[in-house]
Structures are given as structure tokens and as C-alpha cells.
Symmetry: D2
Subunit: 250 residues, 4 copies
């Protein structure tokens, strides 16, 4: 197969993992991880107890999957999905704390935290609340600098780039897009694509568009592993290699 | 003044700091820190929110005070003072998480975590519960190794030493001792020395005994800073230099 | 079928419900509840967010199932399964708080809290730690008095009875018993009966023994609802009616 | 002294109490409570552990002070001062849970919860976020109905009244007001009155205005008890009796 000229020949696949908490299990990380190239590991503030984080990092390293810090608001009851109006200096410290905690655990597993991705309500807030965006960025800078994964084309990634940090734009294979590049809100009908061939087709289209460097797979749905496998197969058929955007943790 | 031959000429002074949590302030760290050589900084599980940790590390670095990780049970409501029967693999992960979180924050402040000290009920549990002691030790080893500060002569420090980690034995200037070297329980009369000259005298005696490498000052009492100053003065009069047991964080 | 004379003709069936927390679901309460006569609803300290509690009480009332307060240690990360050495006055207040919170939610659902059952590590602690047993009992008394559900024949229930509160002794259809009436620890092989006919047979035997007033079904295993249905069928075949030990909440 | 005709001759004095949490003490409730007629007792979600709540209720009953439920967001780290975008059904359940918990504790102390007052960020949110206002109101209705204390003249109290619940409008003796009746934001200079004669004068003016039924004293400042005493003296000199807006808890 001949790729259209100018088309990217590789794409990253990321998903949220490590989101169990104590007795409560969420997602089938063991089945999902082998399909990923980048694992967004929860850091304990909205999900993920320390033992879960450790086992998840062990598993990611065993599969050669790159580890990223999935940071969020301090809100276990809300799973980080509720906006919290945290003061910038507190948010910066909260993010630095989470990043550092996961970093030490990843290191003990023989890996390293290679990027940061905001989770849930924080993912959305950083595009509309400049003070919160800058707090997250300041935490990454205080940590020593890391690539930041976020919505491709978002104002947040522009601020990240302006701060001199590498950016990684992601797209969603299973979410409907608005004409302006935003996502159709989950509250609207048709927001989530359920037909697996439609998901696979959108994955290929996004990868070929050159607009995104990573595709996000939702990790906490029952069929997450099967969905990831289907996306990989479709990308492979289209001649697009699945490859982490950074080298494997080491 | 001539020191008795064989007597140590230096001693470390440590205290708990960084134990505020959000709106709730505890201890006067700004006043206490300049008197210390080693600061046991809370790590967020029993006390210490991330912004408090960051400010505390900034302050410790500014004063050239060595930073240690004050790790404890996950129990804000109990301030880490209640024994919790945590499974060893969970405790190991909990301690590694706390150590890592503080480590990143200390690094952002231009310092480093230079030792670990168990807090509250964990401090006591590690001398009687071998599985918990080994879990704490395993966390330090997984982190890459650090000196461990604990009760001088305790079974815990023996296990730490057997694991190949440096040990630092501490004594309490303001607590009454039992003949066997243990502490008089707080529930008994006379357990805490209140007379400042008695405290100073015990500090000098402990330092001269050669049995302890560090003296612990209680940081959360109203007169903590004054007490620390009095101990320093008495040690100075006795010709004993106050000096960290490890070099300053850098 | 003729019942042996003196045998009880009714038995209660209880199980833990309402143990989800925010994003994390646990147990299939909707399927399990219709099979129960008594629902041990979590109260928020070790499991159960307020909205889960409310929905669970609504459901229990809809099915005519009696509501009990499943109280535990303040330990979401440990699901209440780790012993915590809580001081008696704190434990009494913690239990009274949980009991009161669920009581108001049950009332809003048109029901009422009709009994208390300690959960997890607290369930076991109250039989060996008299101070904790008395703290739980004091909380029930402070609340105005309620029947207490616990291990049949346990020292805890003796203390409850001595305090003038009604006791309800329970047995486990799916757990192996020791000759002394205690449970085989979960860590030993054969501790949990998996064969459904063995479980049903033990349920009938326990009900006929007259030693227990209630049978506990484990609610958080995948086959909980099916297991409850099988136990009900076996009891029915043996001529034993399944009936709450107290009248329905109202 | 002759009161201007039409002027109210009584006013309520309320303050936040019960805001300690475990090891962390906040406010001097023992000194402040005797000066109050209404005590806004924290309910555990943003402040107040169960034992603190119990002791606070005991004290309020001993002094004949009316108990109100100070409900807030689930945010200990933020002391309830950060807006959280909680879904209405979750917020309703959270408020009902808090109200119920305090209610049972107040009853055990021989008192009762006689009103509700939103705390911190929730206090402000209910005037601008109708869904959150309605969720709080729904919780009060589900509880069986109670008077609601809030900012005098606020849109929130209008919604409360429209729902058929009694309203109690409060004013602040120590805060500067905007021409429109709103408060000068704390971030602006002069927002908080510090001169005690100015505070006392404003207390008298607000009480005489007839616009407020209760005056709020800030309970967590060091001079709270002295300030409350000064306000009471000034009101007494002006011939205004200090009296709870509802009868004492019983």
C-alpha cells in the first residue's frame, strides 16, 4: 500500500489505566495494556491507590508501554469529573505532588513518567480557565519538564507550547466531533460512536489527517480491550504503525 | 571546656514540620525551622497538603535544614496516631508513594529527601510488627535507599541495619525514659518533662551518652521554637555542636 | 414435610448492599435486593456515597426489605477491612454519625434504620476488643436503641444483650465452620463453600439448628443474586419461611 | 432610650462552630458559644469530625444555643471554600446526609437541628447557580423541612421562600457592604472591618434596619469571642435584645 504523501505513518494509542481504588476495581488493565503504546496512569487524587499504581507501572514496564501521569482534582467521590475552583498555587502543588508520587513508583518499577495528561474536569478546565492551565504547566516545569498530552488544537496545548514544553495532540476514535474540531458533548445523542467499524474508520481518518499524534481509547468501558484491538487492526490495514510518541520508559 | 574522651562532639536536632492541612494550621514552622538541622516533613497521608509541603521544603532549603520524609498511615482523621492493620504490600506502596511525592516537591525546592522517619502509630508499630517494619524497609529499598531515623536501640533499627540501610537513632529531650530504654507512656504521670532546665539537661545527657545521633523536638506544641532554642543553647554550653547527620539537601 | 418439633419455621436473609462509591460500582444491588429480607446498607465511612445510599434505601423500601446500618471504620482505601485502633469515644461518635446519616436518608425514602451490623474489621474487632464493642453499643444506645446483628454465639452479642439491646445472631451459608462455632479463616483452603448445593444444604442446616436468626449472603460476589435465590429455594423446600427478624421499615 | 417605631427589638447572633478536625483545632468554641444564640455546626464534609460535632452539640445544648447544620461541599482539603460543580442529585444527597448525621448527634445531646446554613463556596453558589440552590432546598424538604439561613435579600432566600420553607436573612457586622447590598469581596482592601467600634456600630445599624434577622460573627478568628461580646454589648446599649430566631433546641 502507498501512503498519501505527507501522511503520518505512525500514531500513538493512549488510554486511562490504574483507576481502581482499594476494593473497587475499574477497567481490565491486564487485558488493555498490551494494546497500548502510552498508559495514562492515575495518581491517587481522583483514582488509583498506591498499590494499584505500583502494579500498573510494573505491568506497563513489562509490556514496554510508556507511562504518563494522569493528574486530576482531589476528588475521589467525583472521580475527578467535577470542576473544582482550586487556587492556582494549590493546583500547582497538587499536580506536582501527583506527578512526583507516580514518578517514584514508576522508577521502582524500572520505568519513568514520560508525559502528563490532565484528567476529567481538569482536562476541560485547562482549555477555558487560563489560571488553571498555567498552574498545571508550572507544575510540569517545576518537575523539570515533560511532554503534555491534551486535546489536539486546544488553547491549552498552545499555552503549553508557549511555555516551551513539548505538546502531544490527541483525538478520540469513539467520539463524534463538531465542525469546529470540538467534541460533541456526552449529554447529546450520538456523542459516542458505538459501531466498531465506525470507530475503526474514525481512528484511521484521524491518524491520516496528521492533526493528532495520539488516539485515546476509553479504558473503563467493558469492551475497551476489544475496541483497542480493533483500532490497531484497522490502523495496521491502513499502513499506519502504532508507536509511542516518546521512547519507552527506562 | 574539655570533652570526656570518646564523647560525641556533634548531635542532630530533628522535629516534625509541614503538618498543617488546608485551613488547619499546626505548629509554627517558620519559627521552629531555623533551630533544626533535620526537618521531618509530613507527606500528605496523615498530615500535610501539597502546598504546605512545598512551602515547608522551600523554607527548609532556605535555612539549610536537611529534609526527611515523615511517613505515616493513611489517616487524616486520626493524624496517623492510630494503628492500622495494613497489609504489607499496601503499606510498602503507601510509603513509597509518600516518599516519592515529597521527593519531587523537595527537588522542585532545590533540595532532596535525605532520610525517612515513620510517624505516630507507625513509629511504634515498626518495632513490634515485623511485617510492617519490613514493608517500610522494602519501600525505602524500592526508592533506592535512604537512612532511616527511629528510636535508638529499637528492634526496628536493627532490622533496618540488617537490610543494609544506614540507621539514625534518636532520643527525646522532653520525655521520661524507662530503665530499659523505652519511653514512659504518655498516659502515665511524668511522661513529658515540662521544666525547661530538665529538658536541656536531658538533651545534654543524651548527646553525651553516645547512644543517640539525633534529638527529637516536638514541633506541634506552642513553645516548640523556644524549647528548641533552649536545647541548642545547653548543647552549645556543653561543647556539643548541633549538626545534621547527613549533609544538607542539594 | 414435617418439621422436627422445636425447629424454627422462619429465618432472615441479610446481605451487604449500597457499597458502591462514586464512579466505582460494587455488587448488583438491583438483582440482589428482591431476594433479601434485611439489607445492610453501607453508611459512607468504608463504602457508600450519599447518592448510592439514597438509591439503595429507595430500592429497599420499594421491595419491602428492612434497612440496617452497616457501620465500619473510617477507611475507604481499605474498605473497612483493616483493624484501626480507634479510641472508644471517637469510635462511638463515628458510629453514631453513620447511623444518623443513614437514618435520615432512610426516612427520606419512607423507611427507617431498623438494626445495626458492624462491617469488616469492626465486625471481628468487637468480639475481641471490649472497648470497641462497648463503643459500638454506646452509639446504639445514644441513638435510642436498635437490634444489633452479629455472629451468633459471639462474645460481642453477649455484651449487646447485657446492655439491654436486642440481638440477632447470624450464620454464613457459604463459609466453613470450625468445631468451636467460629469461622474457618479466609486464608485457609476450603474456607469458602463454592458448591451451590453445599451452600444450600448448610443454609438449611443452620436454619434448622435454631442457633441463628439470620443467614448472611455475600453481596459483592458476581453470583450473589443467584446464590441468594438458590438458598431461598432450598429453605422453601425445607419448609422454612424467609422473613425479616423485624417488621419492614416504615 | 426610645426605639424608633417599627424597629425590630430583637436580633439573632450566629457563628460557625465545630470546625476542628481530628488533631487540628480551629476556633475557640468554648469561649464563643456562650455569646451566640445560633450555632452553625459543621457536618463533616468540609470540617468537623464526629467527636467534635458531638462535643459541640453537647456544649450548645448546655448553653441553650440553637443548633443549625452548616453544610458544605465534600472538600476537607479546601475547607468547603472552593466551588465544586456537583451534579444536583449528588449535592442533594450530600446535603441530606450531612443534615441527617448532625441531626442524630444533636438528638443524642438532647437537642435538635433547627435550621440549615450553607457554608463557604456553597453559600455563594446557591445565589448564582439555580440547580445547586434547588438541590440544597430539595434536601431540606426531603429532611422534612427546616428554616434556611442565608444572605439577606439574596436570590437564594427567594427560592427558599418560594419552596415554602422559612427564611432567615443574615448580615455581617464585620464586612463592608456594596451599595447594592452585596459584600465587598475579601480580595479588596477594606473588605473586613477591623475597628471594634466600627463593627459594633454596623451591628446596631443592621439590627435597626429591619433588613436582617441574624448577625453573623466570624468564629475562626482569634478574637471571635471578644468581638461577639462587644457586639452584644453594643446591641444591648441600643436596646436590642439578642434572641434566637427559633426556640432553643429540645
Amino acid at each position: 500500500m502507498t501512503l498519501p504523501s505527507g501522511c503520518p505513518s505512525t500514531i500513538d494509542l493512549n488510554a486511562d489505566v490504574g483507576e481502581s481504588f482499594g476494593r473497587w476495581e475499574l477497567g481490565d488493565d491486564a487485558a488493555l495494556l498490551p494494546h497500548l503504546t502510552s498508559a495514562n496512569v492515575a495518581c491517587g487524587f481522583h483514582a488509583g491507590d498506591p498499590l494499584t499504581l505500583r502494579r500498573t507501572c510494573d505491568r506497563a514496564v513489562a509490556h514496554g508501554v510508556v507511562i504518563g501521569a494522569q493528574v486530576g482534582y482531589r476528588d475521589l467521590a467525583g472521580f475527578g469529573r467535577r470542576f473544582i475552583d482550586v487556587a492556582p498555587d494549590e493546583l500547582e502543588a497538587d499536580v506536582l505532588y501527583q506527578l512526583s508520587a507516580l514518578s517514584g513508583i514508576a522508577a521502582a518499577a524500572g520505568g519513568a513518567v514520560a508525559y502528563l495528561k490532565p484528567h476529567g474536569a481538569l482536562y476541560h478546565a485547562v482549555s477555558s480557565q487560563e489560571a488553571q492551565a498555567d498552574a498545571v504547566i508550572a507544575a510540569v516545569v517545576a518537575f523539570g519538564g515533560l511532554p503534555v498530552l491534551g486535546l489536539a488544537g486546544s488553547p491549552f496545548l498552545s499555552r503549553v507550547a508557549a511555555a516551551g514544553l513539548p505538546t502531544v495532540g490527541e483525538g478520540f476514535a469513539d467520539r463524534a466531533y463538531l465542525p469546529d474540531g470540538g467534541l460533541v458533548p456526552r449529554s447529546e445523542p450520538g456523542a459516542v460512536l458505538v459501531d466498531s467499524s465506525a470507530v475503526a474508520a474514525q481512528a484511521v481518518r484521524l491518524a491520516q489527517s496528521g492533526d493528532v499524534q495520539s488516539l485515546c481509547i476509553h479504558g473503563d468501558s467493558p469492551g475497551a480491550a476489544a475496541s483497542a484491538a480493533a483500532v490497531r487492526a484497522a490502523l495496521s490495514d491502513a499502513g499506519i504503525a502504532v508507536k509511542a510518541f516518546v521512547g519507552p520508559s527506562s
